[in-house]
């Protein structure tokens, strides 16, 4: 009985990790159609920000996690103005190449600054006993945080003026600017938001993975898969796709081995994209 509870919690944690590492990409790629190959590097920057602030500046881990999106937002702003600005609406391959180069640069800068093995931080808050199992509090916190962030983003994009403008500018920039929307400024904010979300995901992950310059790269593939499978509703579609893919991967890993879990995730993704080429949210009425 306690095994079932622990498995269910573990599934929630896996889904949460997928959500947290994909939300940034959902905004940048799902909404704005910028193929951001540097998404993994923004995760990595967020993770390093948190780690360095805790280790060197002695900040509390929660404060350090909150600083991660700020740092990534600043870097994202620079990146947007310097590289991405001229690429909206162009071919996907252009954005892919530019962000690919950017990811190589950021990765190498990180190696030069931090080396390949730099001290990390452990998970805070201890563990809780459930029957004869023990589960870390932090892994229970992640699903709560993921849900909160998604809810906040939903409110941002549906209830605020910025949210309305952002969606308009992304979906039909010419019409939006004809109506007086400052498309360039709005797109800058949206890109910065996407980078900040990636940084926040990285910061939240940093106490449970080994933070090194390559840490983001193993999440990029799954993030793209999740966003693409999710479909045009970039928020709720990504959430649903995370639930399906993350849930399947974890359950299969519990029953068999990690390799089968990964295989199951990929198989389900293939089936979903084949069966629903527009994504899970392809024919939802609410495209958010």
């Amino acid at each position: 009985m306690d095994a079932l509870v622990v498995i269910a919690l573990s599934v929630l944690t896996s889904i949460a990790i997928l959500v947290l590492t994909s939300l940034g990409l959902a905004v940048v790629f799902g909404l704005m159609r910028i193929v951001n190959m540097a998404h993994g590097e923004f995760l990595m920057i967020g993770a390093f920000t948190t780690t360095v602030l805790v280790r060197s500046a002695g900040l509390s881990i929660w404060l350090a996690i909150l600083c991660a999106p700020i740092v990534c937002a600043l870097i994202g702003a620079v990146v947007e103005v310097a590289f991405i600005r001229s690429l909206y609406g162009k071919r996907l391959i252009d954005t892919l190449l530019v962000t690919f180069g950017l990811s190589l640069i950021l990765y190498q800068i990180a190696i030069d600054i931090f080396g390949t093995a730099s001290p990390g931080i452990g998970a805070p808050a201890g563990w809780v006993e459930i029957g004869r199992y023990s589960v870390s509090y932090y892994s229970l916190l992640l699903p709560v945080v993921a849900l909160t962030i998604t809810a906040a983003l939903y409110l941002l994009f549906t209830r605020t003026r910025y949210g309305l403008l952002a969606r308009a500018a992304a979906q039909n920039p010419e019409m939006a600017s004809a109506l007086g929307v400052e498309v360039r400024r709005v797109n800058l904010w949206t890109f910065v938001l996407g980078c900040a979300l990636a940084g926040l995901g990285g910061g939240l992950l940093s106490p449970i993975v080994a933070v090194s310059p390559g840490v983001g790269q193993s999440y990029v593939g799954q993030a793209f898969m999740t966003v693409v499978t999710g479909g045009p509703a970039f928020l709720l579609g990504t959430l649903t796709a995370s639930a399906v893919l993350g849930g399947v991967a974890n359950v299969v890993s519990q029953l068999f081995t990690n390799l089968w879990g990964l295989t199951a995730l990929l198989t389900v993704a293939i089936i979903l994209v084949r069966a629903l080429p527009d994504g899970l949210s392809g024919n939802w009425s609410r495209q958010l």
Partner: protein
């Protein structure tokens, strides 16, 4: 893009080395992107650098040698120090007179943590008539990608990593300790000090599988039992399911054969769930990537490892080696077993060539098999001709609260295995003297 970047950086660090060495290693594009752009210039433009070493004397031609390591990518935690030590060793050998009076010229190949690059560069080295020997490869999988190509083309391969055994190739020499040399003391220690039930967490490729076969056989011999086995692919970092299964099985000891940066998350998540209070971890692979630095002290305290080399070993060769390494690479992390075996490998080859009087591959192999002892930073090593593995000292150590290794005890001159667990033996001076194969265990 990647070509010029790689070559430019490598040339820069070459100049640094010939003056006052700095920590700038030769690095080029990272590996993770290859999944997305298979045809990009990044693949074709990896850093192939022909080093121009100092001119030795006006008329002595250099001997060409090569090193293949994953200097970038997920395995760069191992590959970068190994390539640096390779370079440093060649410099050192050249400074003390070269080999047979000729200088060595090192060709460096960065395989970027991609197996297919090992095959490709092995082909290139194989087609290059000048190159006499390769010290390279990190994982067993990469060795198996390169070895058949290299030995078919008559190139010697020295493999510096700890590994799982099973190699039976006349042209390959294994520097690092094997499963028998490392897991035997670990299992014996665990059964005496922690408990008799083992749970195995291993990387999901040839090393993990063979090491697990060894673990099962050694645990059984020591009177214990294996209550569960989990194979984890190299790019997985979410260990929630694994940790839940460990708690169901309730072992006393975890035998952790984890490899690479992503697997470090296991120790972190294990400690986060509070499991490191009651369950001991023993590992023949922990620490090779300086895991004890990346992880916090609460997460690594009490982990027991077994290696031939620890930086704190107290002998004159080690002191000299460490001093030279720190001078050349002041920003490098702690030294672990793998780079030391690179140093040993080059020196063992040098001694064999000087005994044979030539770089002809069969003469060098015969000289290697005459078991010339060498005093390396990890003590006395001598090649066992039957298995082509080194007889070396093995020490058990544990990580303390200050992230350092405390040596528990040292076993001198441990014999490597000549048999593959559950399968046949390998006798490279007897029945297998023209063999070029790998024997896999029957699990």
């Amino acid at each position: 893009m990647a070509v010029t970047a790689g070559v430019g950086r490598s040339n820069a660090s070459n100049q640094n080395l010939t003056e006052e060495s700095t920590a700038a290693p030769a690095s080029s594009a990272d590996a993770g992107r290859r999944k997305f752009l298979k045809t990009s210039a990044a693949i074709t433009g990896s850093a192939i650098v022909g080093r121009t070493s100092r001119v030795f004397s006006a008329d002595s031609k250099p001997i060409h040698v090569a090193s293949m390591f994953d200097v970038t990518g997920g395995l760069s935690i191992y590959g970068l120090p190994e390539m640096n030590v390779s370079r440093m060793t060649i410099e050192h050998i050249n400074k003390s007179g070269g080999v047979l009076g000729r200088p060595l010229q090192l060709h460096e190949y960065d395989t970027q943590s991609k197996i297919e690059l090992y095959s490709r560069y092995a082909q290139e080295i194989g087609a290059n008539d000048d190159i006499a020997v390769v010290v390279g490869c990190i994982t067993g999988a990469s060795r198996e990608a390169a070895r058949p190509v290299l030995s078919k083309n008559g190139k010697l391969l020295f493999f510096p990593s700890v590994d799982e055994g099973g190699e039976c190739d006349k042209y390959t020499f294994m520097q690092g300790a094997d499963c028998l040399q490392m897991e035997t003391p670990l299992v014996d220690w665990a059964v005496k000090n922690a408990g008799k039930t083992f749970y195995v967490v291993a990387a999901d490729y040839v090393y993990g599988h063979v090491a697990t076969a060894w673990t099962k056989s050694l645990v059984e011999k020591a009177g214990g039992s294996v209550v569960g086995v989990e194979f984890v692919p190299l790019d997985v970092s979410d260990f929630g399911a694994t940790i839940r299964k460990i708690q169901t099985a309730k072992p006393a000891v975890i035998m952790a054969n984890t490899v690479g940066g992503n697997h470090m998350a296991f120790y972190r998540q294990f400690a986060a769930a509070g499991l490191n209070r009651n369950i001991r971890i023993v590992s023949p692979s922990f620490g090779l990537g300086n895991e004890q630095l990346v992880l916090a002290p609460e997460e690594t305290k009490g982990i027991v490892v077994a290696y031939s080399y620890f930086e704190s070993l107290n002998n004159p060769e080690n002191k000299a080696f460490v001093a030279a390494y720190r001078k050349a690479y002041p920003d490098a992390g702690p030294l672990m077993d793998l780079p030391i075996q690179v140093w040993n490998g080059w020196h063992q080859w040098k001694m064999a060539v000087e005994k044979a009087g030539s770089t002809d591959i069969d003469k060098v192999v015969a000289a290697m098999e005459s078991a010339i002892p060498f005093q390396g930073p990890n003590g006395r090593i001598v090649m066992d001709p039957v298995s082509h593995r080194n007889i070396q000292d093995v020490s058990l150590a544990t990580v303390n609260a200050k992230r350092e290794y405390e040596i528990l005890h040292t076993q001198k001159q441990v014999l490597p295995s000549r048999t593959v667990v559950g399968a046949e033996s390998c006798d490279l001076v007897g029945k297998d003297k023209s063999s070029h194969k790998m024997i896999l265990p029957k699990t």
